[in-house]
Symmetry: D2
Subunit: 319 residues, 4 copies
């Protein structure tokens, strides 16, 4: 069993999609292949049941089953974080406990929709940490564009002071580069205990985020090997090389970063790459039409050409 997530977690925690059959059922065999796909690309961890994992469209029973099955298939090779956000605290706590018992490395929680001030967010999490107890490591997901909830840096730092099991900050405020850096400086092990900071938002600003102190990425992208290598190169001191690689994929990073339809695009690429059997998104959800498909064809071809050219110039840059 791998360690739980903690202040020194780093690298790429890929946000996993949830594979469905064309009929909308969970596609268990595709979970198997998807796990091997992600692990084969060298990710440091996996996060399941995030927003891009369509968690809100699963039933509670499905969520619990999916978490257990996924964790079992990973089999301790890397840590698995489970998204547990829910409108009701009881359900959130229940899924957290189920996941941890099944071997999860921690849980990810976004503040509940409707919280409007720093004080409300802190009160919400104070109640939550009390219910979760001291043994479940928590990743705070800061995603105002998705949740409508904002928290200021000082309020977040207060939460770090108050709750020892808050060990990770999933940064995806946008724009948020300055916020990320302020959290980093506030939690650098000197000003205050260290926490891990991983970045979301599809990785759209990953090189900038690494320069500003991120420990890696916790996001989905259909080419996880890029995220992995960018982080590895960066932490090996080869920042420019890392960013060259990143820029090669940027057109597709940006293409996936279209809220809504982006998930359908991501799943279609994963399908083409053999990671899952169907690109189906559960209803209500977007479907790619002929124009979307032609557009994606062009973008993928362009990527392949670019990677081939780069490989020719400096062998090794392509995965």
């Amino acid at each position: 069993m791998p360690d739980k997530i903690g202040p020194n977690s780093r690298g790429v925690y890929i946000i996993s999609v949830t594979p469905f059959t064309d009929d909308g059922d969970v596609d268990w065999p595709s979970v198997d292949s998807l796990v091997e796909f992600y692990l084969g690309k060298g990710v440091s961890g996996v996060t399941i049941l995030g927003m891009m994992g369509e968690a809100q469209k699963l039933s509670d029973t499905e969520s619990a089953e999916f978490a257990k099955y996924f964790i079992e298939r990973v089999g301790g090779r890397v840590p698995v974080v489970v998204g547990v956000s829910h409108a009701g605290t009881d359900n959130l706590v229940r899924l957290s406990k189920t996941a941890m018992e099944a071997g999860a490395a921690g849980v990810m929680v976004a503040p509940a929709a409707g919280l409007r001030t720093d004080v409300q967010v802190r009160d919400y999490f104070a109640a939550l940490f009390k219910r979760l107890g001291p043994d479940i490591p928590v990743c705070f997901q800061d995603y105002p564009l998705g949740t409508g909830v904002n928290i200021s840096v000082p309020a977040f730092l207060q939460m770090v002071d108050e709750h020892p099991s808050l060990v990770m900050f999933k940064h995806e405020d946008w724009p948020g580069l300055r916020k990320l850096q302020q959290v980093r400086r506030g939690c650098d092990g000197t000003a205050r205990r260290r926490i891990s900071i991983l970045c979301g938002n599809g990785g759209l600003y990953l090189p900038q985020e690494l320069h500003r102190g991120a420990d890696g990425a916790m996001t989905g992208f259909a080419y996880p090997e890029m995220l992995v290598q960018v982080c590895e190169k960066f932490f090996a001191g080869r920042a420019d090389e890392a960013e060259d690689m990143f820029d090669s994929y940027l057109p597709l990073v940006r293409h996936e970063q279209q809220i809504g339809v982006g998930l359908a695009i991501r799943k279609e690429i994963l399908r083409r790459r053999g990671a899952i059997a169907s690109a189906a998104v559960r209803a209500p959800g977007p479907r790619l039409d002929r124009d979307d498909i032609a557009e994606l064809d062009r973008l993928m071809e362009r990527l392949e050409r670019r990677l081939a050219a780069a490989a020719k110039r400096s062998p090794g840059i392509a995965a």
Copy 2:
């Protein structure tokens, strides 16, 4: 078994709270007493698992159990409508079928959060009606303040034309008196087939809404007898008398109409009136503090005094 809801449904469909114990479990004995309380006040129907029923904080299993239990306790004395809104269509359809099999009179659906235009709302419901089939009567809940989703009158009327099982409009746009009247005129049995229109928003504008063509109320208020009598008097041609009664309760109607804390107030009144054993709201949820309680004491005393005075002036006006 009572009829399903239909174009001629009228009167008061009380939005039921979901009773919890102080520990946050569903309080089944209180369901029994609550059912008798509501029916004893003369309601024409009951709607369960609405937003004020904390539906979003129940697990899927709890929702199904609650619906079945509640419907069984009502035992066909009045129709029961079940709120089935869910981020995932499958879950929505599953709960709808469970509820109908258990004897529900219809389901209530609000457009899913994130829909942004008339076309998107119509597409969403077109897919939904296809999945639900022709035999499940649907009440459309128009509650932009809660859902963030708006629909224009012409778009709603198009939906009425396209989906015969759309039989009821729960009006709670705010402000929305003109919209209500436009829907009424558009669905009056002549311009187009009739649909039933019941009003929400805690009943804050009920007399105005009745004048504009509403068939009654589908809302929660801790004194359902007021809603019932206001509707009865109005439909008996005694509009002014109905409004006099309404105005007597208006200070409390307005007091309950505070989003968030209003639900805690409503449950506390229901507890005092013996309808449920505990006023607990599931976490995360508001709790009344000493000041809130003192304030409520004053308002309830004032109501009692006012009702007593009215009874003295014209015996019969108080319930």
Copy 3:
């Protein structure tokens, strides 16, 4: 010249409408009559160019002219507060200075749209207070439903500590009774220097707000005499009598409290009462149709009947 607003300001600061001709020009003669109308009803102050004063639809030149003219007509009989909120700080500061030079008693500022956290709101106001200097008394307008901006109580109290010219809190968060009380306790002259708290939201919860420590109302309502007498009675220790009077008008208070169309209703009542010549709202703005007018007729007739009956029961309760 009356004193500037300060920590002990109390009573009713009526939010003035801006009178227009049917063609949409500022109707200067109606400003004259409106000033006399408000003052004749016994208000303690007037606030102009608020959101219900259609400030955002005036040109900058018109705003400055309107402020100067209005202040001149009031002629020092009561303090005049000027709403100066603007997307650009320069414009805000310019209008503030113009207004103060013309004899305003202070300015009212709401946080600019788009501010998302306590820290951002505090930073915004820190910059503002620096620009305004120490001599312009400021009323902070807390109106999240209108601005989309929220501030927590501790953050507001910090602002009180940091900015001596912040002397008044216009409470109109909703629901917000608990927040009002927390601000009151935090600024009671002991825990911290006193500030004045006046309530908005059309006065919908005025009796409750007075019980919780408000110093009065800063809101619009077409029957200002009610607001005035409710405050007077309450501060004279006759809280129940005050609330009886309030409840008589509550159906109309509620009717005006319909965002958007409510302003057209308020202007129509003011027109009927002779305060202004035209009920016109500047485009884009709501217009009452035949149904709205008939509805208003009924509500006003009912109010007159109720006041007459009350006057008969206890002479003196009606204005």
Copy 4:
């Protein structure tokens, strides 16, 4: 004098910044240099007083002066479109007329904040077109992320049918590629009269948008020559070459596309390139700190290196 904008307008209409001195005054000499900068890069037109032109922070007088001065400096070399959106219709109409008299080629209007349905948007524009008359060509700005207002494609097409002076669609819904294409197909000169479609959103998806039928871009980017050449190459049938060039700049396009701080970045690049004297953004507005500057240094260096390398590989690809 150049033609007014019309159904066949195409190419790049650069969204101009508004130059300020460090003290926040309009920097008139920088307007001169900025005009020459933009025109020197080959733009087909210029749009002033858009959201990225800080229009909402100018006084009405400043807006009118700025429009007149800017149009005079351009001196008919390219068309100038003026953003006229305002909360009040009178102000909007007044600025429109002032601008057209000064020689503007058309006006750009976004639906007013607060409009909630297709019908409301259409009613708003119907009233507007009536006031503007038939001779002022209008560009509809579809920017829901900024305005909070959404319109569906059928509703927009209805507006095209009803208002002949609606000649241009500024597409910046996000994600919105499919919407753009639907508008294109609906207004292709066959299904319905043609309108021009130019794309905003900082150009983040420009190659995709051109493939889907856009006529060019109406957006700001500190390297207008890239936008110009991408459009030229694309319309010359060299789509892949166009996209290669685009991709070279994509890291900076994405960097500028950070709402809020992005404007400060854009102005800083324009300052470095000699287009304006100061990068100042009017208060309240973002300021770059040391970290932001260092980050921008890196990104600009990387761009230069990439352009140099591309120039070496295929001379001519760099501007």
